[in-house]
Symmetry: C2
Subunit: 421 residues, 2 copies
């Protein structure tokens, strides 16, 4: 396809999405839930077809010699499709964010000011291997009254195409406006570049993928972006910690799923309890094949620890590697975290309320955990339904993002012929 | 000054601001209001000195042959300083946004999730002539627990320097953390460029000034920006409008202060009432020296109207010029506004509730007015205290921005040794 033709197609798709978004924005919760319910039924009925088309992608990926991890992410099973279906069901149960009054003011007798929640309009999702994002993202966008433009990874194009066909047809039959879901059905990379120029039609872009993809998008568009940031997360074991609890949390935060953003990368331990907790903990880490890189003090306590370098404090391992530092005080822990952390998820284990409160106030992060594992930072754990990611930005959305983060606001001002004097 | 030296100074200033912001963020409302009250007293006591230093700037501007409009914006009078002082008093009366619980969830028995409001950290304000912004912006930033970096226009440097000296000294005596207000005391333009690189220290930039300045900043930084957008605002007079009310609103929206973003630029009139309202209205506009550029139908009704071109529907005049279009229906009005409007402030005059509701739902704008003038779109009119601008972005802040828009959020998660399974 010629680039100019591709540009034209992208423009038409974005225009169709904008048109549909106006209709979606005026729909009530019953109408939107009907559409989502129809999608649930259609996905259930077409399970075999989904797995068949996914099989084509998997076969092609294997032939292309793509890594096993990647193929795992690409693979749909009956269980994974059912998880996506359950995600839709959870979102159906959520209240409608649209139209809710956020603020209300009556600054004078002849004027009423309300700030209400409204859809953003058109949301573009640019993602990589996992085909379930096709379903998750569409579900959240539609519930919040937005049209969605989907650009998945080339390797998943057959899976994404069949998933979109199923949910689109089901949605239309249940009253979804024509054009509400736009699928970019090409593996041509120019398509993404063209989308990035449509800042008058696309209201938000959500890139989901590796840092390179996100960086590329950020530097090539003026469309606002919400992106999943990196997680260099710490757990601080205070001198007033319950040692057993601290051990339990520290093992969970590192080992339960080390490859994700909310896993712990650095453990900070107060010097008064380091001698008590580190031997116990390192034994457990050893059993779990965790490589430890610690400061000199930690190495004096547990000989098998490797010495950490400055680089270690800055590294998001996303692996079974952990850096450990013994600190002199709460203050030292806070300084270390605010210096090296990525403002994602930070935890303290302590039974001292004042210490916990100081930690909460002074740590600059999207989520602060007291006596809990950083692994809990997740939209579904927090009760938001399925999530669209975890933001480490400070503007618009911070931390686990749900439906509300896919909306904006509108002031509604009602007067009685009111003018400005 | 060498550029490398300037770079070093900017870095030190931003670091000092970040350090101060941690302390400000932990202050309660009494502490913050004490600081603001001290500033009120100090500004009152030093009125003469302020006007004296402002006089130096005005003299220099006159000698440089700068326009009268600009000199008006640069000029401080006792009344204008008192307005700024009253702005601080209004902000003192506002509730503390910090620490308030926005959402609360208990997704399971052993975990409590709260989302609370916290300061952004360090806010940079880059502005032009008006020295009162120095006081307004500092006040809002401090009340929201943020440190502020002020970079005013070169022409106002003496005025800004004395204002900062007065409020800084007064703040310090009242317990403000050292470094909470950073004044960029140079007219070297490189200073701004250096600030734009400090994305790890500055959390938000607010450019206030012409479109060129805002564009320059947007394209040269990865620091998040909140900017005041342009206003191409419409008023639609519906067939069910009260004609006297419509006349009153249409005159106010155009004439009360034509140079500002929330003034009306285009009037849309339903064909059924065009014959009734246009002659009356054009007479009043004529008396107010408003130049009218209308569609052919409007010209058939009032001969003196000049014919509008396509360019007119796209133009933010910011002047005593108005374009007028007669439309066939509410739907036509909505299509015109969503096509040409800047999503700032849009008004309808109608006594038909259903028509008003459709207009509210389908118009995509920061604020929608029913039977009221678009000129009312203002933070102080809406009861937000002084305002930091009106955003036409959809992310983070939309419409009149107050203190809340200078904050972000933090999840506080309290467990009982809770881990992820």
């Amino acid at each position: 396809m010629e680039n100019s033709e591709l540009r034209h197609i992208m423009l038409l798709k974005a225009k169709a999405a904008k048109k549909a978004s106006r209709k979606l924005g005026a729909m009530n919760i019953e109408q939107k839930n009907n559409i989502l319910s129809a999608m649930v039924a259609a996905l259930q009925q077409n399970m075999k077809e989904i797995l068949f088309h996914n099989g084509i992608d998997i076969q092609a990926a294997k032939e292309a010699g793509i890594t096993a991890t990647f193929i795992d992410r690409l693979t749909l099973t009956e269980k994974r499709v059912n998880n996506a279906i359950n995600g839709i069901k959870d979102v159906i149960l959520l209240q409608d964010p649209i139209g809710s009054v956020i603020e209300e003011n009556k600054p004078s007798i002849d004027i009423d000011v309300k700030k209400i929640r409204v859809p953003l309009g058109v949301i573009g999702i640019i993602y990589e291997a996992r085909p379930n994002v096709t379903v998750d993202a569409t579900t959240l966008c539609l519930k919040a009254g937005n049209a969605v433009i989907l650009k998945g990874g080339s390797e998943a194009i057959n899976s994404n195409r069949i998933l979109v066909k199923i949910i689109y047809d089901a949605g239309l039959r249940a009253g979804m406006p024509d054009g509400a879901i736009q699928f970019i059905d090409t593996t041509n990379r120019i398509a993404v570049k063209e989308l990035l120029h449509l800042d008058n039609l696309i209201d938000l872009l959500i890139p989901r993928g590796n840092e390179e993809l996100i960086k590329f998008i950020k530097t090539h568009t003026s469309i606002p972006i919400l992106s999943h940031g990196k997680g260099l997360c710490h757990t601080y074991v205070d001198k007033d910690a319950d040692i057993d609890m601290a051990v339990n949390i520290a093992v969970n935060a590192k080992c339960q799923r080390p490859s994700v953003c909310n896993a712990m990368e650095t453990l900070l331990v107060h010097k008064d309890v380091a001698g008590k907790i580190l031997p116990k903990l390192c034994k457990l880490y050893n059993n779990a094949n965790v490589e430890i890189r610690g400061c000199e003090i930690s190495k004096d306590i547990v000989n098998s620890i490797n010495l950490a370098t400055e680089e270690d404090w800055k590294t998001e391992y996303l692996d079974l590697i952990l850096s450990i530092k013994v600190v002199n005080s709460l203050e030292d822990a806070i300084v270390h975290i605010n210096k090296y952390g990525s403002m994602h998820s930070e935890a303290i284990v302590t039974n001292n309320k004042e210490t916990a409160d100081n930690f909460i106030t002074e740590i600059d992060a999207a989520a602060v955990f007291v006596n809990a594992s950083t692994r809990l930072h997740d939209g579904s754990v927090f009760g938001l339904g399925c999530e669209i990611g975890i933001s480490t930005q400070k503007l618009h959305a911070r931390g686990a993002m749900g439906i509300k983060e896919l909306t904006t606001t509108k002031y509604i001002v009602k007067g009685r012929g009111t003018i400005r004097n």
